[in-house]
Amino acid sequence: MPRFFLHIDDGTQRIEDEEGSELPDLEAAREEALGSARQLWAAAILRQQDIGSRRFLIVSGDGSIVELIEMDDALPRSLLDRLKI
């Protein structure tokens, strides 16, 4: 299975995923990033913190960025729409 790294970028610094995880394909890596983003949101909300400026960089084994997942991508559309009113 290919290895994917899920680095977290908050605009000013990058928190490296040093170990990466073996996942079947990019779709699985995307799901992992979205599920992780929801978990980070849950913790952030309890702290009254906004992590909307953070994003996941999905990086493949050879070091190239294959996808960006914004934290907002993990939230329900209707919730985001309501927040933007």
């Binding site: 899920l6 977290i8 995880s21 992992e32 702290r47």
Partner: protein
């Protein structure tokens, strides 16, 4: 030879000599599965070093750590409680060495030697306090606080400050996805409590880490020391 396992060490010299001829020295490599869910338990292990993890399973490939045993304890507790198996999975997450004893022999020794039985039952009480505080932490504390607690528990069971653990293991310990571990390590590192490099976490400021962990750390450890003796 003196024992490093805290339970064996706490036994009277006479009780130590009862067990000693039945103990087999062995190396416990990281990843070694000691107990499989619902399979008969054939041995009891007394680690001298390393860490074993007791996992409550959610299906066949997921679970969360509910208990930790290293040189403070034993693996194979059901045999002590007149049960021959458990739904839990138990494996070594940090390589160590230890002693094993045949399960049937172990039961016979317990029947014949009240001093050994009583000490090990007090360990069951101490261990059960540990698991209740894991429940408390899982419900009430942040991932950062739980990570701090877990690192302290791990640090208590070894001699040096370097804890060899991957993020994958920590995710299983804490029941979260790996990026939550990455962020939590980053936070504790930012506070200067630890230094995390690939596969290795170094404890830098133990007292601060204890303060940060709050109510999740301290009570089970005090209970252990009251019932058994020195933990660290």
């Amino acid at each position: 030879m003196a024992f490093n396992n805290r339970l064996l060490r706490a036994l009277s010299p006479a009780d130590q000599e009862v067990l000693r001829p039945h103990l087999r020295w062995l190396e416990l490599e990281r990843g070694t599965v000691l107990v499989l869910p619902d399979e008969p338990i054939t041995h009891v292990w007394f680690p001298e070093s390393g860490l074993s993890s007791i996992i409550a399973m959610a299906g066949s490939d997921q679970g969360i750590e509910v208990g930790l045993a290293g040189r403070d304890g034993l693996v194979g507790m059901p045999l002590l409680l007149d049960a021959d198996r458990t739904p839990h999975r138990i494996f070594m997450q940090v390589t160590g060495v230890g002693h094993s004893i045949d399960g049937n022999l172990f039961r016979k020794v317990l029947d014949d030697h009240a001093g050994i039985r009583k000490l090990l039952l007090r360990y069951v009480q101490a261990y059960s306090t540990q698991t209740t505080y894991t429940a408390l932490s899982n419900a009430m504390h942040t991932v950062e606080e739980r990570l701090a607690r877990w690192l302290l528990m791990s640090h208590d069971r070894q001699d040096n400050d370097e804890i060899p653990l991957t993020h994958d293991f920590l995710a299983l310990m804490l029941g979260v996805r790996r990026p939550s571990v990455t962020i939590a390590l980053h936070s504790l590192e930012g506070l200067g409590f630890i230094k995390a490099t690939r596969g290795l976490i170094v404890v830098r400021k133990r007292e601060e880490l204890e303060e940060f962990a709050g109510a999740g750390y301290g009570v089970p450890e005090a209970e252990y020391e009251r019932l058994i003796g020195q933990l660290r």
